[in-house]
């Protein structure tokens, strides 16, 4: 196995922020919320920021979300049925006043369809400093990554359990903000137990890059988050939170759940 690649410091604010959190010995927690799933979604974001999120992924609903399981599909559909559009999400985010970085998670057709400048303009308007497109792999990502970096936005790439070491290195090197380790072979969703692959992908990434390594997909409980974060720099939690929101737990339920994840991670 090769040495750990020390990546050049980047000017992007998301990466600077996450690296500094890590330097303080804090495990990083990134919850995911589907934008516009109901009227209280901005309050929910406020609540999870207060509960100790280090960054927040905002899902921009897309008609054909191939990396999402039933929970996030349902939330996306609910948002689309309410007439939510990318433009309306970013316009609402502009009203938000929190000191936690925002990351847009969606599918690449939305950025290609709108064009880089228009989409980039929306991101900047909404105060978003990172993007994740699960259907935009390394080979197809360069143009957007370069453009995004030029306007201070980090394009985050994913590494899968099936990615080879050399490919993982290339991805980690091209990724900005952090590297997203995919915790299991499957789409987003709640899993009863943690997949073995979650810690494996974390340790193989930690061995090859000094970028912040976060693991997501299939991490549903404080116990599972804690287990992965023993190896990774932190976790991303989506479906387990969105399920609570779809069940009507609202900002208070979100606050309680994110607090429980936070205190689990702080025990480490």
């Amino acid at each position: 196995m090769g040495e750990i690649l020390i990546e050049n410091e980047t000017s992007c604010s998301l990466e600077v922020r996450l690296r500094s959190q890590r330097a303080k010995g804090r495990k990083i927690l990134v919850p995911y919320v589907t934008g516009g799933y109901d009227d209280s979604w901005l309050e929910t974001i406020q609540a999870i920021a207060e509960a100790g999120a280090d960054a927040i992924e905002i899902g921009i609903p897309f008609s054909d979300p191939i990396m999402d399981g039933p929970i996030i599909q349902a939330a996306s559909q609910q948002a689309l049925d309410r007439g939510v559009t990318p433009a309306s999400i970013f316009a609402q985010l502009e009203k938000l006043d929190i000191d936690v970085p925002l990351i847009a998670m969606t599918y690449c057709n939305l950025v290609f369809h709108s064009g880089f400048e228009r989409f980039g303009g929306w991101l900047s308007m909404g105060g978003v400093t990172g993007t994740i497109f699960p259907d935009l792999p390394l080979e197809e990502s360069h143009k957007w990554s370069d453009y995004a970096e030029s306007i201070g936005i980090a394009n985050i790439l994913l590494v899968a359990p099936t990615s080879s070491i050399s490919r993982s290195q290339e991805i980690a090197s091209a990724s900005r903000g952090f590297v997203y380790g995919v915790g299991l072979m499957g789409v987003t969703g709640i899993r009863a137990s943690l997949a073995e692959s979650a810690s494996k992908v974390a340790s193989s990434l930690k061995a090859i890059t000094d970028r912040v390594v976060l693991v997501g997909i299939g991490i549903s409980t404080p116990q599972q988050a804690k287990e992965v974060a023993q190896v990774s720099d932190g976790v991303i939690v989506g479906s387990a939170l969105v399920k609570r929101l779809l069940d009507g737990e609202g900002p208070n339920g979100a606050y309680a759940f994110i607090s429980s994840l936070r205190s689990g991670l702080d025990d480490l």
């Binding site: 008609s63 979300p65 369809h113």
Partner: protein, 396 residues
């Protein structure tokens, strides 16, 4: 026995998965390994005489190839043109889909995988995949939009009879595009032992190229067949286009000929005609989208053409002006469906009835009197008889 040409190139030159600005490989990282393995396996197999001999021998002795070219004497007379049909409707399972699934099922075994999954709209590709799985001893699951399982209930039964599991997809518009989404999601979770058998010239590279290679037998048979009949290439080569596999397979042999190439789309799903470039289902191509890039639903009398996108090769052929794409409405299709049955004794599938509808409408106009026309009859109409009977009020 037909021998397929070995040419590994697409018309755009050395093939890297791009048809001009279209194609590519836009997939979750989790699938990258499998898709790269598939590309390598396909390229090796395509150059392996033993693989090709097995593939062609199954298509011939089991699939019923070569399929004939039939002259439509009665319709030719009434339309004032010379109309020929490439008879893919005579293949085992009733359509051109068998050409592709036999190839992909053999690749599945070559990769050491034991299970195959597929999406289906009308059920033709699902039935073909279930058939190939039964023949070659593979487990098979077919994803079908819930709406389509209702429209094509008999095909659901056929797939089950062939030993396959059928999953009714309840998300989104509950049609073909959602079946593709669900098959892709499932594939991400089971990619280690499962091959995703995409039914058309779409998806991430190598699918659009690979499926075209498996389907080009249509045109490679048809060109010498029609030349033997009329002593020349036809003035027009016409095929219906949903994802576009029978059209791609037909056009390929004629791309460098003098023949005009025309793809016919349903008016409610004209991705080449009315779509704009986008990146969905693993490829950059033309799609029907709203102003923000959300994929829109297609609407057509034919479930097999109910797809709001199209294979990247067609976007490319259209962009460079080598093929032209026209559309017909459901009413024109229904009348062409009946016309072919009455005048030639051939009940077409609703999909190729689109091609015929265009010919009927344009004979003496865009298709001058006296022109020679080759239409790919991509499937037979048994599966559609009940739908059409309802539409014509026969069951009231």
């Amino acid at each position: 026995m037909t021998n397929l040409s070995q040419d590994p190139k697409a018309i755009s030159g050395d093939f890297d998965g791009r048809f001009g600005d279209f194609g590519g490989r836009y997939i979750p990282e989790s699938l990258n390994h499998a898709v790269v393995e598939l590309e390598r396996t396909f390229n090796e197999a395509w150059a392996d005489p033993e693989f090709m001999a097995t593939y062609l021998s199954i298509l011939n002795s089991y699939g019923g190839r070569p399929s004939p070219v039939t002259k439509c004497n009665n319709l030719s007379r009434s339309l004032g043109i010379e109309l020929y049909l490439k008879r893919e409707d005579l293949n085992h399972t009733g359509s051109h889909k068998i050409n592709n699934v036999i190839g992909q099922a053999l690749l599945t075994k070559r990769m050491g995988k034991t299970r195959i999954i597929a999406e289906t709209g009308a059920g033709q590709h699902g039935v073909a995949t279930a058939t190939a799985a039964a023949l070659l001893g593979l487990k098979c699951t077919v994803y079908m939009g819930e709406l389509d399982t209702e429209r094509q209930a008999l095909n659901v039964f056929r797939m089950k009879l062939l030993g396959s599991e059928v999953v009714a997809v309840t998300s989104g518009s509950r049609t073909l595009k959602d079946a593709i989404n669900e098959a892709m999601r499932e594939w991400v979770a089971c990619v280690e032992d499962t091959h995703y058998c995409i039914g058309s010239v779409m998806g991430p590279h190598p699918y659009p190229y690979m499926v075209r290679q498996f389907q080009k037998i249509i045109g490679e048979e048809a060109r010498p067949q029609i030349n033997a009949l009329i002593g020349n290439d036809p003035d027009f080569v016409i095929a219906c286009v949903g994802g576009g596999s029978n059209a791609a397979g037909t056009f390929h042999a004629f791309v460098e000929s003098r023949s005009a190439l025309i793809g016919v789309e349903p008016a409610g799903g004209a991705a080449v005609g009315r779509g704009v470039p986008g990146v969905i289902h693993g490829m950059r191509s033309q799609f029907l989208q709203d102003e923000f890039g959300q994929l829109q639903e297609a609407h057509s009398v034919s479930a097999g053409l109910d797809y709001p996108g199209v294979g990247p090769e067609h976007s490319y052929l259209s962009a460079i002006g080598r093929a032209q794409y026209e559309s017909v409405n459901d009413e024109e299709v229904l009348s062409a469906f009946q016309l072919l049955a009455r005048s030639e004794g051939i009940i077409p599938a609703l999909e190729p009835a689109h091609g015929l509808a265009y010919i009927v409408r344009e004979a003496g106009k865009a298709i001058p009197f006296g022109s020679s026309v080759l239409l790919t009859m991509s499937g037979r109409g048994d599966k559609d008889a009940e739908t059409v009977a309802h539409m014509l009020g026969y069951f009231q």
